[in-house]
Amino acid sequence: MGVAIFLFSLAATFEWGEFQGWGNIPLIFVGLGVVSFSLLVWWRQDMSFGMHGEIFEPKSTGAPFQNIDIRKVAMWMFLMSEMMVFTALFSTYMRYRLGIPNCKTVFHSGEWVEGTAVTCFEPAGHLIASSWFHIAPGAINTFALIVSSFTIVQALRYAKKKDIDEDVRRRKVTRYLGTTWFLAIVFLTLKMVEWFLGFPLPEFLHEFNHGDSTIKSLYAEGYLINADNYQHHAFDTEYIEKHPEDYSIPEDSALYAMMQDGSHQGGKMFANIQVSATTFYVTTGTHGAHVLGGIVGLTYMTLKAARGGYTPDNAVSIEYFGLYWHFVDLVWVLVFPFFYLY
């Protein structure tokens, strides 16, 4: 609820980047306050373990969750609301993807003239899945999240082990949580590479990248939320003629026939891809924000583990965070194929 208040009031205050007045500023702080208070309560609950030797984990008493830890139930409720958030993003994506003609289809239809932008859907997968190099950051990220899901499980397992030395437990839990933290950082770093930075290729690989020395970022490719004049060499008849090994215009397409009879001059197709880029960035960005939130939690937990803060009696905190982290992985299981590969 706090996040919703914060986001809505922030959006109302800065509409399309322009300051709309001070009216909603207090609400921004109310949102932040609710989030901070919730985190404080959670942290206090986490700290209450073993401070004076006592263990205090309140249990639910009402149906249908009798005798289940309240924090565990709360975490599942939270995850269900998160599921609805991502479902909204997915259904938005499906609706637009199915409703707006694909840029490739529009290009082959010949219903465009160079210089005038046409609205079409350009899936990010067209750029990302275009070569092994382009797909590398996303693929590595997929493996990173799966490994991190496993390391958090291992952290919980060692935190709960009663038959090992306390120091061994401390080191194992710290290492596994630290590894999870590191993999989360890797994930966001590669996301930055993919979105904004791109990366250079060693010389011997240039020939496999059309002679280019770098893999461009989505930003450099012009795949932006305000791209109303997007161009790609796959939608350029001159480029296609020069590089028949990469692209071709199907002989049964309308564009091919029109170019043959001279009714279409060919050239570059300009595309308005704002909707496709927005659905991509909002969905993957929301997921990235969850990873960022996980990094904050993991930083605290790793430091706590390093000080020997986790014992078999209070390992549940790792379990509850683990649920969140697995959920982030679960969402990626769907985001990766549908937004990156397809």
Binding site: W16, M83, T87, F90, F336
Partner: protein, 120 residues
């Protein structure tokens, strides 16, 4: 969280290996040339890829939820699985009725929801 084994192997390691293999297949499916398969089935390569990705995503989803998130095998797994499935009805409505079935989709959306009218 009791220590669980399947065929003498640790369940969590087994799950981890399974997820890694499925992900590898996923990435390979995108890189592989599936044109001959698509042609033999009378469809596009992308459709084949989408089917492969969807089919692989389902067991991955279940493996993470059931094993890593303990929705299988724990004392409270039953009620928590029911809790996790509770939004499924709403998700079905959102995905099927909003995402898929609208015939005109973006072309019949109000102006403020269409490209070119965002004030960007």
């Amino acid at each position: 969280m009791a220590e669980k084994t399947v065929l003498g192997m640790d369940l969590y390691w087994l799950n981890f290996y399974g997820l890694m293999i499925l992900t590898l297949i996923e990435v390979l499916a995108v890189g592989a040339n599936l044109d001959p398969v698509a042609e033999s089935l009378g469809t596009e390569e992308k459709v084949i890829t989408l089917w492969i990705l969807t089919i692989i995503a389902i067991p991955k989803f279940i493996m993470i939820a059931a094993i890593f998130m303990h929705l299988y095998g724990d004392e409270d797994s039953g009620i928590l699985t029911m809790t996790a499935l509770f939004p499924a009805f709403f998700i079905l409505i959102m995905v099927l009725f909003v995402g898929l079935t609208h015939p005109d989709a973006a072309s019949s959306l109000p102006d403020w929801c269409r490209p070119g009218t965002y004030g960007l």
